[in-house]
Symmetry: C2
Subunit: 359 residues, 2 copies
């Protein structure tokens, strides 16, 4: 299946691997999806510039097909020392359970975006995608001038319009079903009540509002979802949870097991792990910290503060402290290799298209 | 387009009018959708048995095609007198603004379900649909024995399974995009965090879990949404907001104007009007009562308590006090007659199917 977007990106099939920063993303997974004819993607937001350069080289060693890199547009919120102290106090009991020292000193909340972006430019990656806001038009122009296709992420039509005005080549319409962080620019509580729009409602409205291609994201797991996305007017589907339990995926074993055991009612939107709303499988940490959501420091501060807990929990295989990012159709995930997932999605999409034609 | 469900229901096209009780539903709208080849539906939950009988007769006068009647499965929650007093105190300032007397005595919270259901049985309506729970298997059997097709409403796979076990002929999978009341059986706060599943994620999971046909609901407004629903495995699409601004629809003028002015960010889930979570366009009442949600009495008590306010607001054209039920794709609504809406949806669906076949 070819669309204007697959032609623009130089890919064979309208399937894009969702960026899954912080573990799940690996060069092997990105390369497998690209080799299968989709667009592989490195979720690189938490990588140092050096690590990002190494991962790009590794993808290139594994495939000669196009691929993408995703970064988070930097946020520099005011982080009140009292909010950090409060978060440490809330987190220390979990640290004790995991055998970790209390309240570690965190000197730095995230990687330097400008240095990460410089690597993307120098390496001339085929596709650059970004999340959490609109990149300035000047930076988008510099990327495009370097021959890089630029993709922004929107959860509302207004955000999509802002991205198109800034000059992106395509916009991801992230529906409320999507796993992981919400891309919502302004993620305060009041706005989040309105900015969780289901994929089936969001995509056609985005398509009508924008002149650039739209990529549907959220709840798409198989050939049915892919054809639905294309019917809604999307040029491709971005799929993350569908690849979460693949052997090439770097998600830890407890995370993969939770995805494979999920039902449609397993996930919630939580700020407990990173300070930014994200969809994951509900667990002890997401639910025990829910009443304290308003007191917690914002992203990326809280993300840095919970890192030692998440890393220890991954080592100890304790899912109750992990950010188990997953979308609302996680129950449809499989543990097959990524190339087989792509092949099965395409095969089912063919059957669905045939069925629709014969209805 | 024919599916197993359209054959079962004896309709030409896989389009079902969503029940929209409390004003929007009219015999004229139901008959118009049925005459156009879909399945018209009376949202009859708030009708007295006598009014229901009259409306069924009126539909039959206007069309000889199949149609449906929807009722709410009765809930008999404990309504604490203190919660009623608290609600009255919260509502009285709005009554004062509307020129209404304070704290009217409400002696009865809803219509008698058994009497409503008796009318459905006696009138042998072609299709009976229900919401807010699972009807007992014995009542479903009695309806089916009378030649009535029975359709339940589910917001999760577990609810869908319960309905199928109770013996329904088909299940509506109500995605989180849908306008109006959530059909969720247990609508407490903690469950609602997990039971708002997007249509695109919910439908395929429901289809995989059930052996009866699934009807997709939530966010479907045009031919793109209809084809997407069918691609996901649904046998038909249930559409409400798409018909809300039609001339045949009984929604008041302020409600129709709000729907036609909506964007993707206009709606919220609120308990403020009825005590049960429902999606509508955010307004003063939904937002000012949000902080008090936990104190408000449950459905149908609060619904009865806010009735005088909603009726006065409708008369005075004051949208800020109305329950402006609408789905997340309300921005795609038009004010054309229902027959034209059906015709346009089908025409666009044909173009979408052709486009998919040629991709």
């Amino acid at each position: 299946m070819q669309t204007a977007l697959t032609a623009m990106l130089g890919i064979e099939h309208p399937i894009i691997l969702a960026p899954m920063a912080g573990g799940p993303s690996t060069p092997a997974l990105a390369a497998a999806v690209s080799t299968a004819g989709g667009l592989g993607m490195l979720g690189a937001a938490y990588l140092s510039p050096e690590a990002l350069r190494r991962e790009i080289a590794e993808v290139r060693r594994l495939t000669d097909r196009p691929f993408g890199v995703n970064l988070f547009v930097p946020e520099a919120p005011d982080v009140a020392p009292e909010a950090v102290a409060r978060a440490q106090a809330l987190l220390d009991p979990y640290r004790a359970e995991l055998g970790l020292p209390p309240s570690p000193t965190v000197t730095r909340y995230g990687e330097a975006f400008d240095e990460q972006l410089a690597v993307v430019l120098e390496e001339r990656v085929p596709v650059f995608s970004f999340t959490f806001g609109a990149l300035p038009a000047g930076q988008i122009r510099a990327l495009r001038d370097a021959g890089i296709r630029v993709v922004g992420t929107a959860t509302t039509v207004a955000e999509g319009r802002a991205l198109a005005e800034a000059g992106v080549d395509a916009v991801v319409a992230q529906g409320s079903e999507a796993g992981g962080h919400r891309g919502t620019f302004d993620a305060d509580e009041a706005h989040m009540l309105r900015a969780l729009v289901g994929t089936l409602a969001l995509v056609p409205q985005m398509v009508d509002a924008l002149r650039v291609p739209v990529i549907a994201a959220g709840g798409i797991m198989d050939g049915r979802g892919l054809v639905a996305a294309l019917a809604l007017g999307a040029g491709a589907a971005q799929m993350g949870t569908a690849f979460l339990a693949c052997p090439e995926c770097g998600a830890n074993a407890a995370h993969k097991a939770a995805v494979l055991a999920a039902t449609d009612e397993s996930t919630v939107i939580t700020r407990a792990f990173s300070g930014r709303p994200a969809r994951g499988i509900a667990n002890r940490l997401s639910e025990e910290l829910r009443p304290h959501a308003a007191e917690l420091p914002p992203f990326p501060a809280l993300n840095a503060l919970t890192r030692d807990i998440r890393q220890a929990a991954a080592r100890q295989g304790r899912a109750e402290y992990l950010s188990l990012w997953a979308g609302q159709a996680a129950a449809l995930a499989t543990s097959r290799p990524a190339a087989e997932v792509v092949r099965d999605v395409l095969g089912q999409a063919e059957r669905v298209r045939r069925g629709l034609a014969e209805m």
